[in-house]
Amino acid sequence: MAKNVLLVDDSSTMRKIISRSLRQAGLDFGEIYEAGDGLEALEVLEKENIDIVLSDINMPNMNGIEFLREKAGRDGVKDIPVFMISTETGDDIIGEAKSLGAAGALKKPFTPDKVNEVLGPLM
């Protein structure tokens, strides 16, 4: 069954790159939704049917960490898996994200192979 993805990143260019990588991975992705920050992402989560979230960490208005926190308190959406995507690979920030419920991390920009590796098991 096709899975819908939500991409959260403040750079539209980056979102374009990532959605391309997702399409090229050859997995059964359905709709790819986009949001520019944590706040927008929460709105989309409430409105649409999302199966996987890929979120950047550094964003204005509500960053990735704050987004995780907020999401964890909302019953309808708290169980949707979130993968952090970031140029940082600092262990501490990824660790914090994981402790707040993130399912994993991907260093961006990533190749279709990487997408397969990390998201493949969920499909």
């Binding site: 403040d10 750079s11 539209s12 260019t13 374009k16 391309r20 204005p60 140029t87 961006k108």
Partner: protein, 594 residues
Amino acid sequence: MRVPVINHDVLEQFIEEVQEMVEAYEPFLLALKEDPERREIEKKVAEVYYQLWHSIKGTGSFLGLKHLVYLAEYYEYMLDQVLSGVVTLYFDQILLLEKGTDFLKNNFNSIWQNKSDDALAQEVDKLVNMIIGEATGEKADNGFKQEIDGRNFIQSEMFETFLGETRELLLVAEQEFVLWDYVSIDHARIQDLSTVINRLKCNFVLFELHEFERLSLVIESTLNRFLAGEVFQGEYPERVFIQSIDAMTGVLQDFSVSGQYDAINIDKYLTSLQGLIRQPVGELLIKAGLVAPEAIEQALEIQREKKSDRPRRLGEVLVEMGEVTNDEVDKALNVQHRQRKHVEKAWNEIVPLKDQLIKVEEERPLPDKVEVDMKTIQQILKFVQNLTDSYGVSEIPKSIVQLEQLCQPLQIISIETLVVRIKRFVHDLVVERKETVSFSVLGADSEINYGIIKSLYLSIIHLIYNAFEHGLETVDERSMIGKPKRSRLRLWFLVKGNELLVSVEDDGRGIDIKKVLRQAVERNIIYANKTQELTNQELTELIFELSAQNINTDQETSTRGLSVVRKQLETLGGRAEIISRPQKGTRVTMRIPL
């Protein structure tokens, strides 16, 4: 490296996105420039520009625009420091942000045309050096250097100057030590030599060559002890000094050839130097923990008292006093003896075998740089110009064109030697006053006119001195009002249109405007009811006017300083502007028409 065709649409979108961000954020930067105190604007600027450079870093690395990414990393670091509250966004950092956006605006087209950022390498390096230069003034303690990539920051032109000066100093020192027999009996000459070593030490401090700094320090203090009356042991003490000088010269030689230097172990030189001064028996015994200093004092007194008798050695007196045994005294004497042997050994090490001497001399490079007076250079340039002009519209012979090209490097005289001198001046002030100041110089690249800076040199020095005298606060004062411990002092050069701007800026107390206005009213320079309406320019005039008046009654150097500034500016047809805010700092900008 060109961006592959499949990513051209991404590149296009990337450029569009960055362009939009640059345009959208510029008003914030301008607002901050107008009013640097507004904390909220400062925070906003830091946030948005962090976003900008962070995006550039992210997408840039996907597209392979490695020079942009390199630049973005540095801007990110700088802004991260601001966001985490370690530093505030000062004038010069705002300037750097501006330069960054200008750089982007100027190069969007080229990136799109070439589908790469390879052409931007040099400009990026320049910007990066400026950011580093700005940051290391403060961050050196926090290991900022190591975080980046451990390379040596010294910009190449400055290093040439440093090398040249240091080589000369080492040469002078070497020559004096070679003539030690004549030098050692001339007190003044030894003092001059000690000064030369001190200047060497300062050079090493400025460029953070710590082992050499230490070595120079020990040489200097050894010479000073000699001046104070202590005696050198060993037949040829100068060999030990020459050994150290040679070591330093050798390393600098390697550096100037290969651009790298290997840290050397100076321990053996230090030991040799320390061994020069004969350690008295008393000191050795104290060091060995066998005797207390007070006992030595007593023994010395006894020794002095009973002078009429056969003169007794300190060791004997101490044994009599029951402080030490004969054995222990013998041991100390042995140590003394060993130290002397050590010194002699050091001497033997540095004198090469006969064959080697000639070989070394054969291979030693001869000086091949000429010193020419600037006036002569100007004359030469003028001749060449006249020569090329004399051809008018007809074709200039190839040889003349070549001559013109050869003269190109003579046109630009770098102000680095002046900047080095200014830095040393600041360094000495800091040491003298035991202050914590971070000083840095911005914009001192080759495009700045040497002649003008030379004419402004004294003004710059005086403005800096004024900042120390009146502006900068103590560490306690600063921590009480929540300022970072280190005071900041900045000197920057900027060419804007057809004006040269030179600014000296500090983040200290600021000028007591109330006091200035009070004095001005008292002396009928302005009316009491006019004090609110003064522009910056008028206020500046006032301050200069008051100091000119004060100069007859006031012996303060600061007032003298402003008179110097005024005079120098008049000669150049320039003017000054003072911007000052209480507790925020003062900036004096000199504007000179080009």
